[in-house]
Amino acid sequence: MSRRKLAFWLLAGGIAASLGVASATMSMSTRSDSIDAVLVAPRAFVYRMAGDFDQAGRPVDAPLVTIARTSPLRIMRRQVSAAEYDRCVVAAKCKSRSPLARSDQQLPVVQVSWEDATAYAKWLSAKTGERWRLPTDEEWVFAAGSRFHDDALSVAASSDPSIRWLARYEKESQRETLDRQLRPAGAFGSNEYGVLDLSGNVWEWTNSCFVRQSLDAASRPVGRPSANCGVRVVEGEHRTYLTDFIRDARGGGCAVGKPPSNLGFRLVREGDAFVAIASMFAAR
């Protein structure tokens, strides 16, 4: 990246950040090479934690916490396309797509695992000199805004395991079944921040690990959470947890429960100022 370009990005990032602080609802579109990203302005938001939670050994809904985010988040406007992913394959940095994924080049890449998405992020970062990675679940929910689906069951803790089980089944049964047919970017619409196709029929990998956490009667954590990073949080029309090498969620489920229709991803970019400074050091 040239010095002039760097200076531009530093400036743009700074302006965007200050704009973001000034207006909680405003978002900005930025282009980094051909990467179309949205800058979601900082705000405080309510977050339903991801993972399995229990009170005295009885499963309960995950707690709600308020996160006050102070920095903007730069996130890809749309999901990574098959054509983009294939450039990483050509560069021999990503595994080839599944022969079962017959998507056209301009459609979202699907049948990709967390490992595939992570390899792509690494390649893209090396190529652009910017730090791209999968969002954490908190970041995904922050950028999804009104497109986040809360899967809480609002069922009290019980020693009868069938109650939550049937409640979850009831909730899943009421969901509309989305077909698996891939659609061009934008077909599922934009959210209030200009991010496209959230919670359409392509679910997205996040970087967050699956955690188990015990809670006290006031829903405060008791003891340390146990994290399993072989299983990652996947977001979309419903939240789910999948083993990191799974490419087709329909093959990763159990006897009941609806798996995601398709698995894809989009990336977020680490703070611009930090990246710019790091790049300047690298340039010397």
Binding site: D52, D54, G57, R58, P59, R102, S159, D160, P161, S162, I163, W165, L166, Y169, E172, S173, Q174, T177, D179, R180, Q181, R212, S226, A255, V256
Partner: protein, 370 residues
Amino acid sequence: MKLSIWIVLALCALTLASTPAQAEADLKLPRERVTLVAPPFVHPHEQATKSGPKIIEFTMTVVEKPMVIDEAGTKIFGTTFNGSIPGPLMVVHEGDYVELTLINPAINTLMHNIDFHASTGALGGGGLTQVNPGEQVTLRWKATRAGVFIYHCAPGGSMIPLHVVSGGMSGAVMVLPRDGLKDEAGRRLHYDRVYYIGENDFYVPRDAKGNFESFAEASDYFPKTLELMRKLVPTHVVFEGRVGALTGKDALRAKVGETVLIVHSQANRDSRPHLIGGHGDYVWETGKFHNPPLRDQETWFIRGGSAGAALYTFRQPGLYVYLSHNLIEAVELGASAHFKVDGQWNDDLMKQVGAPQPIPSATALQAKPK
């Protein structure tokens, strides 16, 4: 000469010999008219009866129409009894007479008939029931054997698999002993609910891209489907005609303490029903009620071309999966149904003694491979 030609000739001879359908009062027995309902439900009926033999009148209309068989909207050319796959379950008692009027509306394109495995003679009635579009026929047969039995269309030649298998044209009859179901010691068995599950294997051709093909004309669909069927590898194995027909909003229901009779038919291919989290308390694997039922079954077997029956009393609430325990067929091809069971959990039967938690460190170290 090919077997199929012999079958056609036999059918023709029988048709010539038969007299035109007419409502004769040649049998002096009380009559009862029953309205059929679409599976998985079953029309109201007595389990044991004190009444003498009757003539039970049923009417079925053949409906030719496209049927969606999976979530992607894949369609088959449905040839159906009464518009459902499978056709409705007919319940009578041993010694009763089944009197079926089969209607083939003029809007249809194909000749149809019906072969009752429970009946005796004339290719199960197939030879006496051939109706062209715009015709109807009435057949009466005596229920001399107790059990659950398949019925299906059998028009002759390759049209048999095309109608029965690729078109879903089969159903079942349940002939109950007059004094009801009994266990191996002759003690009465009773059910609170009965569900009829018809299983079908479908063979849908794919286009050059690998997607399921949709056809405008049956004349294009039939040869390609037949070619695929001859390889014997189904693209779909489903209950009640489509993937997910008995799950989610359409899941079967029961309560703890209720006894459910599950009638399962497969007109073409073997299947192995299993109830995840439950059992078959009493199973008539071959479906014939004068044989003692098997007790406490884990997985049972439905021979292709037959129906079986399993009786189970639910003892625990929750979700149960009733599937073909060929798990590839159940999960990948569709042969799964769900039971939603309400009631009180019984800790004595099952309890999670310790919730999932990290393995204590000392144990974890021991468990590590060297």
